[in-house]
Symmetry: C2
Amino acid sequence: MSTLSAQPFSGNSGFNAHHSPMGAFFSFTCGNPGTQGGMACESGRPGTQDVFVGYKTGPAGKPGTLVCLPLFTGAKDTAASAFLVEQADKKSPTESRVVAYTAEQIKRYYGWASDRWVTPDLQLTIYTPFGSIPDPAKASAGEMREAIVPAVIVELTIDNTHSTEVKTGFFALQFSSPGVRVLDESLGDGRLGFAWRRDMGFVGEIVSDGASAPFGFCHFTPQAGLSEVNYRLHHLGAAPGIAFEVAPGHKRTLRLAIGCYLDGIVTTRLEGRYLYTRYFGSLADVLGYALDRYEQTVLRCVERDQELASSKLSADQQFLLAHSTRSYYGSTQLLEVGGQPFWIVNEGEYCMLNTLDLSVDHVFWELKHNPWLVRNLLENFVRFYSYRDQVKVPDGKGGFTLAPGGISFSHDMGVNNNFSPLTHSSYELTNLDGCFSHMTVEQVCNWTLMAGSYVTATNDLEWLTNRWPIVHDCLLSMQNRDHVDASKRTGVMQLDSSRCGIGAEITTYDSLDHSLAQSRNNLYIAVKCWATYLSLAMMFQKMGDTRHKEQALKSAGLAARTVTSKMTDAGFIPAVFEQGNPGCLSRILPAIEGLVYPLYWKQLGSEVATAALDDEGAFASMLSALERHTRTLLGDEGNRFPDGGLRLSSTSGNSWMSKIAIVQHVARKYYGIEKGDARQKAADAAHVKWQTQGDSTYWAMSDQIVNGVAQGSKYYPRCVTTVLWMDE
Amino acid sequence: MSTLSAQPFSGNSGFNAHHSPMGAFFSFTCGNPGTQGGMACESGRPGTQDVFVGYKTGPAGKPGTLVCLPLFTGAKDTAASAFLVEQADKKSPTESRVVAYTAEQIKRYYGWASDRWVTPDLQLTIYTPFGSIPDPAKASAGEMREAIVPAVIVELTIDNTHSTEVKTGFFALQFSSPGVRVLDESLGDGRLGFAWRRDMGFVGEIVSDGASAPFGFCHFTPQAGLSEVNYRLHHLGAAPGIAFEVAPGHKRTLRLAIGCYLDGIVTTRLEGRYLYTRYFGSLADVLGYALDRYEQTVLRCVERDQELASSKLSADQQFLLAHSTRSYYGSTQLLEVGGQPFWIVNEGEYCMLNTLDLSVDHVFWELKHNPWLVRNLLENFVRFYSYRDQVKVPDGKGGFTLAPGGISFSHDMGVNNNFSPLTHSSYELTNLDGCFSHMTVEQVCNWTLMAGSYVTATNDLEWLTNRWPIVHDCLLSMQNRDHVDASKRTGVMQLDSSRCGIGAEITTYDSLDHSLAQSRNNLYIAVKCWATYLSLAMMFQKMGDTRHKEQALKSAGLAARTVTSKMTDAGFIPAVFEQGNPGCLSRILPAIEGLVYPLYWKQLGSEVATAALDDEGAFASMLSALERHTRTLLGDEGNRFPDGGLRLSSTSGNSWMSKIAIVQHVARKYYGIEKGDARQKAADAAHVKWQTQGDSTYWAMSDQIVNGVAQGSKYYPRCVTTVLWMDE
């Protein structure tokens, strides 16, 4: 009980949580009333099982009413009759049925690493430990097993202390796809389980209490399985479960491990297998180990829960971070390719591999836990998904000529376990100027910002020295994308990549509006370019390369001057600098997104960053202009939805929670804007509501919110940017 | 063109065909208008792609109308507008759309190993070669590759000889599940392809003609892909295809290989991998090889087509055999377990592994092609899925005592790639007396009948000598199930297995009615017991074991006497011999199913069988009684549906096509009943209609037909019993 946060979740507590181990691209998702969920491997959406957790009054083998948490299809319809449960039980029904607890009967406690439902008769807790994944080059097999066991653990307690009749508690899943089997190999005494093909399954055991052993059942439905008198296991059944009788006056607890094991090669082109297959031999090994380590794992989760609960974050902020954390890990996939670890974060519902403009946002999270995974990403982008291009220089006659560009990195590494052709993303296409065009300059920024963050956090000079040529290439590339004619440079990207063909580069905000569509002369990109030059300067300084450091700082200065010069009398800087572009009228909060990097580096002790953020330093004017811009946008007429949530662009109803989190962090930490005031509280409350109303409740953490409801980027990893709030 | 049968299919030619290689549990299913189909691995139903095969007038990169075969969702709705195609093309539409040929515009030629659609502008042929699979213990890798390459081949010809505009022909699939990728590795010059994850894909090449190369496209829909001007390949697309331009006045032909490659272990408990992974290294290897061997494969298919076309079978019979053949191979799965081949036939939509009461029906097919696979099945049943039980002897007081039973075999070996616990099927349950009860005696019969058939067909005395103990056990088991008290034996099963608990054994006709529900004292089982004793006698004779041969013949004699004694004045033998049982009133055609075995053995030269079938021999009375029974049932008041199709039980609307085929064969070949007469023709026509109307058209070959429409046992392998007709 020690992991309970003081108060249950106060909003709509019926939402899916993406309960996931680290690096297994596996989830046991549940929580949304009335829809399917459960186990899923390598999927951009919740599983397709109905989850039945509850009890039946009386022993197994007789008809009766199953009282369950509302985690199955139709649970909302049965909930209306739930108030009849007590009467129904007393009537000795001749036919089994299922009723669900109503929302009012359930309290949900949503911690950082535990998710608990409490009703008058039962408690269900799902634990999702997370933390450091050791570098397999250095760690023991035992350490690796603990970190990357592809399973979550679950505890179900049935409280029958106030009843005079036996209750039969159960955990069961009803599968929609054929493949259920009994898992009866290598489990050890007192344990039993079921699996779905070779891929995933669950194993349970009763916390030792000397009473009757739990038993497995499998039938076409759980209600049939629990009332069947002739047999318990039908191998053709689709609804396996574990049940246990609880005598009147007693409480009993079932512990479960729910996990997966995908052996063999799972990706194409770069052929990878899960790193966990190096440390676990089978699904039974995974699930048995998870149960063996049950108590230690709970302790780790309790520590995480306490860490968050005792932080300065408000309850709403805590929810957003906890919810984000689960959906982050649900998208992670730690593979082994060619004998080397290969870290992948899948892009939520889209399942793109290592979308680089997400990676850069995850860096704050990963550097807290696993800096070697950031290095792994940087390396894999260089080795497999970097390219060199040319840039398109306008010829003044409506056409262009080509000039040397430089290095960049593809938007992603593929999609749905398929690595895309090397040096190419699955996303980017030629000859477009909207969604699916190239993000060439932004990906140079992203890689460079990640590299600078990694080096600053770890001081890994060996890596930096090895990759000096790439860092140097990034400087050249940034400069050429500004302009190949040094005299025309503004510090800000002006030239599109030849990879665009007749099209133009776009930003990561691909489905927002014109304000963040084009990269060229874009305010968001401009400040990001400035930060990128700082990152370069910081790395060159670490290498003692003063000449390039100065070059980088010079470009940063140009960028700052350009941005500052665009300030309007209305107190904001236009989203797009080009006259006549509709983006001129848009006011965008991501103007200050780029400040997050020096802010982060400063916290890590970087001199370059500290100097850069000095309000009497070289960039003071830009920083001041951006403050004015931000105050305008967050002021009375500001970028805000009617519910108080933040609007990234004044001209769009599209907002991304992960990016809002960054903007809030910069505004609060650097500018002291909306720090704990009523507006912050209203915004946080709105952002919680966005995740816990309408369809959002099905999709766990979702990033792209249109007018308050998840419309895209669902089931998404990126909102772990909320971890920045811990540093305020 | 040489493979065209003389006449196109004359009925409703819009039906799915289960185009499948041998032993890969893979299919490229298509043909049913307006529904999805396409590629599927290890699935009990058609794939979930829309199949687009056709042409667009004009080059790629422009909008236009796609004219397709109706192999996609909604094709039936677009077909109405198809008559406007010519006009539409002339209008240079600004938006692409898809229209489907109407049924009237398509002729379909359905051969034994080729399936061809012909329209005024195109021809599509899918080739599915089949034949012998060599024993890998003896065959070369080259022979194995040819036999078990997990791919089918396809030929698409676009005829533009009568047009003045270029046409763009294409083959494309629109996937419903994420995972499409370009297959750009190891294909060789002039070939291109796409895949779905690691599992399956297609590769194509143009028959060399010096004109422009084919090109790949991938977009969200094929119409978008073929009109897109900016790019051809989007790796996020779900609709990949291969297209080729055809100049006015020309014809061009695209050859395709469509196949799968599942590496690694695919089953549980008994861990197996596909045997083809021993001979092929990758999906690209499979598809490349299939194209390399294209012409030889077509020749093999042409031979098969000609073999069937030149047989004595009527067009309706030819269709039923050809349709059955495809659905048989679509369910086959040749694995390697523990270094040894392991042959599995999955049970159609139910995906049970090696359902033994299907295996015995497949034996006529497999012994023609691959006797070693029958031995493989016999061995695997002995090693993994045989058991010993007791029998229940009624105690005269409504209860029973237990007595020694003997060997039997489980109903199946598992389900959905999951091997069930050894010695247990996934199907059979305790304490039942209907569906899902045990089929203990019938499975003793089935194994023994298969063994006798195998030995008679191959004269493999080495195997028989090794397995003499098992054959002997089968005799004991049959006798004990008749009665443990020798004085009470009737030759017919009277005692249920202890595995039934308080329930009773059932027959393979588990969802028919009471006439074929219980095994005990059942006419169908009685004649099957008789045949089983003959099989035992035949095997004992081969081993020179006269004593046991005589024992077996004695039991056969008892069985025959029992059956004969049940003849009623109405000229039929009741389905169930027990007074008061509702089955007493049922008249069942499967009474003569058991005769098929001696008929088959006699054809193979068996002395025992020849003597047994002698109409002046030891069993003449029973054979005569069964003839009278059959003539009654097939007479004017007979077991017939209003459409002329056969009704297996006079009291049920359920009929199984595979079993009808056996009954027809015995009636015609042994008794000369309905041999080529109007009744046979009407029955055959009805049976064709059953497969080509209503929902049956989606499910390819289906076995269980209720009042003329497939209701169960869909997508089913067993109808290859129709191959018996070739021997009449």
